[in-house]
Symmetry: D2
Subunit: 280 residues, 4 copies
């Protein structure tokens, strides 16, 4: 029996099957990571609670504030972002807020929500290469060459199709530097990110500046979050904008909101009309 | 042309079709509710950002802290909650964190995620009845009778199938009282909630205490959030637990995790085996 | 113990908790509604299988063919339909086909996917009124008045914002008539639908013809499906178009496809830029 | 302008942005792949419609019947399958049928819904290796060694944790053989699948028989569907079981159905209770 706990008690087996180290619940008592819930409510900040749930320990005030900056930065990028558009369309189709959020958060997959995770993977590969004895610049060149060979020319976390300079990235990196100065984080991930930026500028002859994903990935990495949580925490942040747009949309009278105004049409580029044939 | 902006410019028509008062974006510039994003990052708390996005103005520190308490309180209730179970099952099916969160947040519909919204509707109906000249106790009796007549005996926000007393509710209400004392909120919603509790205790001869949904609904109502946002903000909170469980699950080797251990089976209670018949 | 099966055996309790009359599975054996799966494969049509799973018995050939016509009719209505647009956007965000289908099918809620269900409810209310002794015309007038009083002027199943005459509806109703002639269905639901069309034409002075939802609702009702399954079966049908568009989109190189071309922008109609204030 | 159609007309640009070769719609007219919808309704089978939408041409009767067999075979595997469990839990949380289907279909990701796609990829790699001059047996050994080296020992499409022999697979393969005899398909994919089965039996000393995913992958491959559509079509099939279980669940009174009966509990294996500390 694959999941057996080593005894024949079905209730124990089932309890083990759904085991967790996150929360403990018994009648009248709830605790998270060992802390009674009533001690957390009103005492810890929401970002600290996010950290506790994901990491198992409470953060320091400085750690929580750096995480908080990243959470604030990514909430929204307007209705042209597929996640936001889907949220608004969902409400017009009759979905309640939870359903609109679900359909919209689902959109945050590899392309729309994965850049932060990929950027952090890139930074960590560079630092792992440094561990083998390479200089940071050499390691950056090696890893970027490997990355572009296997993933293509698009480097996650740098450049933005819309913003020549992403106004969020600089502010976030400034906060990281501040925390480096305070000894809260080491700055090693930030250095890797800057090395990527510098190498690409040298190679291309122009700056392709760090974007929101590249900058939040620095924060998550400096704080010790593994790459998949860069995506996961981004989902928590973007959920706020998704909810705000769903809520705004719910006050409009639109029904079945399509991607374009109703006076617009789409182009059919398929086969010409067919006569009914024998198969019909 | 239904959505026409009054001119014949298709770009204007499309821009109007996707209009929003939440965010403004132009190359190199992003602002939310009129605030440049770089002024918000590192300056406002995550709960304050949530408030700004949903309400259009920044909260006071006290308002934000009361919202924060509600956000912290609802993050998780363990793997027997459908939202949490679905999140864990999703990861075992191969979904990335965004997908697990989507399927799980979708679960927070009327029954699993709607009690806070319904409780706030109930409180507001009672207060509206008070506005007509009834005393609070009389209004409470009138509205509860109407509510049970149209919705059934289950009163949202009170009683818990598992917890005789919900350890979250008392702490949350204490915080509300504290804020009433500071003049941050009026306490009118809290009074309505207590009137419901008292009436039911008198009628049933035993206390059916306020639960997490009833208590967070008091907070959302005191802070001026409309009922649907009680559900929406709950989704933001529960998203944290959903993510934490998805992340914990991702370190397990389980594939296609069903609801019960594999040694368990389900009961078939349908028709007996059939001979192939003419229709086959 | 709420779900107890009357004994203390946890495995029995759990088996009962997940009981079903749809499928029976044991090692090497699978049966649906009593039929061994190997007897169904290659023997029954897909629409007949749908019927068997939902109803518990196999349909006649004529019943299955009428259901099949409804399944064929509703597969797609182009990229301006939110369900189809979301499917295409999802693929561009990195979602696999299952994820694109999930986000898109979620869209088929009360407004986008509920009209067939609502139309069937309307027809059944009319026929229930006839059962009380009213003529069909009188019952139709009574029920439509009630419906518009409680739901608003929009009658589900009639009229189309885009098609003056819906080319699917007439063909579907012709097939129903054919089946009435063969004694397969009674035609009572079709008569109710026609009575609605006639009454509205008389009241408004112009024909508001039955649309795809009104016509498929006639078919589902004539075949004995309850109203919620009008929505459910529509989801099975529309899933085909959703998949086809997701698949077509996957051959395009687009990333993060928003609702409008990138040269388009959205209108910001919110607050003017704010100076940083004390709260920041 | 990336998506420009070569002129400055915004309506043309937007029409091109949402271009499709699947459906053509104008007032009063709808056609799919060139066929007017009214010519398809009542004339083509649902599997033929699925084929037309995905492939652009109608299938022959034999092709459609082989596809139909695969569609019938995969509808359901009971409440222990995560997709089915989620569907039932969703209904108990208040979701309508479309929402239950969405959350459940989302589950059909790489692990739960990807085996057919992966099996077809495996078969096609073997046949591509044969094209280079290897015998089928040699190619099978080469590709299986490569596959297990890069993907691990688990071979998609063979073996079943529950069924010693999958009752669906043999029946499906018999139908393929029948179609080979009729000249409908070539049998090359089926031969590759049998070569995999034979090689593994020789290596392991016991038969690890083809399962439903391996067998449906043979059908999809023989019919010319590319691997991702093995997953997509599986989603269409499983959607039927998902809907049937959602519908059955909707007649139960359960609210917030968790994975186990309420008398069961889960195991907490985390940190011991903590005193409130300075951070709180």
């Amino acid at each position: 029996m694959a999941m057996s706990t080593g005894n024949d008690d079905p209730r124990s087996e089932a309890a083990h099957y759904w085991r967790t180290s996150i929360c403990d619940i018994s009648p009248g008592r709830i605790s998270f990571r060992g802390y009674p819930v009533q001690d957390l409510i009103g005492s810890v900040s929401f970002p600290a609670m996010i950290w506790l749930m994901l990491r198992g320990e409470l953060p320091t005030v400085h750690q929580a504030s750096l995480l908080e900056a990243a959470l604030v930065a990514s909430v929204d990028h307007g209705p042209q972002a597929p996640s936001i558009a889907v949220s608004r369309m969902a409400v017009s189709c009759g979905l309640p807020l939870n359903g609109a959020m679900a359909s919209a958060i689902n959109m945050l997959d590899d392309v729309h929500g994965g850049a932060g995770q990929q950027a952090l993977e890139l930074y960590l590969e560079i630092l792992a290469c440094v561990e083998t004895g390479e200089t940071l610049d050499a390691a950056t060149a090696i890893i970027i060459d490997q990355w572009t060979a296997s993933h293509g020319k698009y480097l996650p976390g740098f450049g933005h199709r819309f913003h020549p300079v992403d106004p969020r990235a600089g502010r976030l990196i400034d906060l990281v530097e501040d925390m480096v100065g305070k000894g809260v984080v080491t700055g090693r991930i930030a250095a890797a990110a800057r090395a990527v930026e510098a190498l690409m500028a040298a190679r291309k002859g122009k700056l392709i500046p760090m974007n929101i994903d590249g900058a939040t990935a620095v924060i998550y990495g400096e704080l010790g979050f593994p790459p998949p949580l860069a995506r996961g925490i981004f989902c928590l942040s973007r959920a706020v904008g998704i909810l705000a747009h769903a809520w705004e949309q719910s006050s409009r009278g639109e029904r079945n909101k399509g991607p374009m105004p109703r006076s617009f049409s789409f182009l059919y580029e398929g086969q010409h009309p067919k006569e009914s044939d024998d198969r019909l």
